[in-house]
Symmetry: C2
Subunit: 189 residues, 2 copies
């Protein structure tokens, strides 16, 4: 698998994808992943506190993008307008992510209940953080929670679609279209 990014973290992730796809998640150890790229177990755990985390990189960048989208929105933006801007920022992080790599990563997660649960937890954490950012912009507690959970739905549905066989639209476009579909449930086109 190509090393499209410099740095130990990216190399560890590539090696992990390759090894886990071949051997399964349980049977692949952190030490083995590290060895595959000439590093040791300790270095692995400096980059990823838990073996599962090697499959969930970019969580903090995603959170930062969502929050920045809300914080930097123009004044007077509606709650769902803020959500749209947050999701647009988040989607932008995927512009240079090879879809095949993301597909391989998701296939590993889908095959392992503990990893699926971890992913749900990660999404829940992102929704909670987005809800806080919305409240900081003056959105009421209940509206912020509903808007943030709606964002999580849109992201989840759009991400699955982005990875679907034969899909060629960008994640940004799929998210925008999914948001429009959600809006159309309330405001018929």
């Amino acid at each position: 698998m190509a090393r499209w990014e410099p740095g130990a973290q990216a190399r560890l992730q590539s090696a992990a994808l390759e090894l886990i796809a071949r051997q399964g998640f349980e049977r692949t150890t952190a030490a083995e992943i590290a060895q595959a790229v000439g590093l040791n177990r300790r270095t692995f755990f400096r980059h990823f506190p838990d073996k599962r985390d090697v499959l969930f990189s970019g969580q903090s960048e995603l959170e930062a993008a969502l929050v920045a989208g809300v914080e930097q929105a123009p004044e007077g933006e509606s709650p769902m307008g803020l959500v749209g801007l947050a999701l647009a920022r988040a989607a932008d992080l995927f512009v240079n992510v090879p879809r095949e790599r993301a597909r391989a990563n998701q296939a590993i997660i889908d095959a392992e209940p503990a990893l699926r649960e971890r992913q749900r937890q990660k999404y829940a954490d992102l929704a909670r953080r987005l809800g806080e950012a919305l409240r900081d912009r003056g959105v009421s507690d209940l509206a912020a929670m509903l808007a943030a959970e709606s964002a999580a739905i849109v992201f989840t549905v759009a991400f699955v679609q982005w990875l679907a066989d034969g899909e060629s639209r960008s994640l940004s476009l799929i998210i925008a279209e999914t948001l429009a579909e959600l809006r159309a449930l309330y405001v018929p086109r």
Copy 2:
């Protein structure tokens, strides 16, 4: 704890709530719960395939109510109109559920990660089933998925609120008000 319902199933549930609240979920066995009401382990497992299921009764009634709400809606109802009717039917199941009992049940679930995960899974199953019912009424795949996931959000948020300290509104009213709040994200009042 009072036996407010006849029948082995309800008695097993009452005993389970009492024992688990006292001893914790892990340390309470199915045999012990059965013994507390003069039954045996085999009878327990006839009613609940898994020990966890004693805390998740009513799942099939909830599913049936959601589906009936969609199926029996008047023609021409919008997707979110169908969702509203489905949720109204579901909420109606809780009219005679003592709130204190539901609170005790939820406190046990909240304390145990495996039970929280089970509850998320149950909600996901309900959303999937509701999505199918919406598709059967001619709603497109994407709209049905988004509407069903929105219903899951509304139910989850409203159920937590129903159980909150000092809350006196019925689940039906809280669901109606939460749905109105969700709608107001798209159609400002």
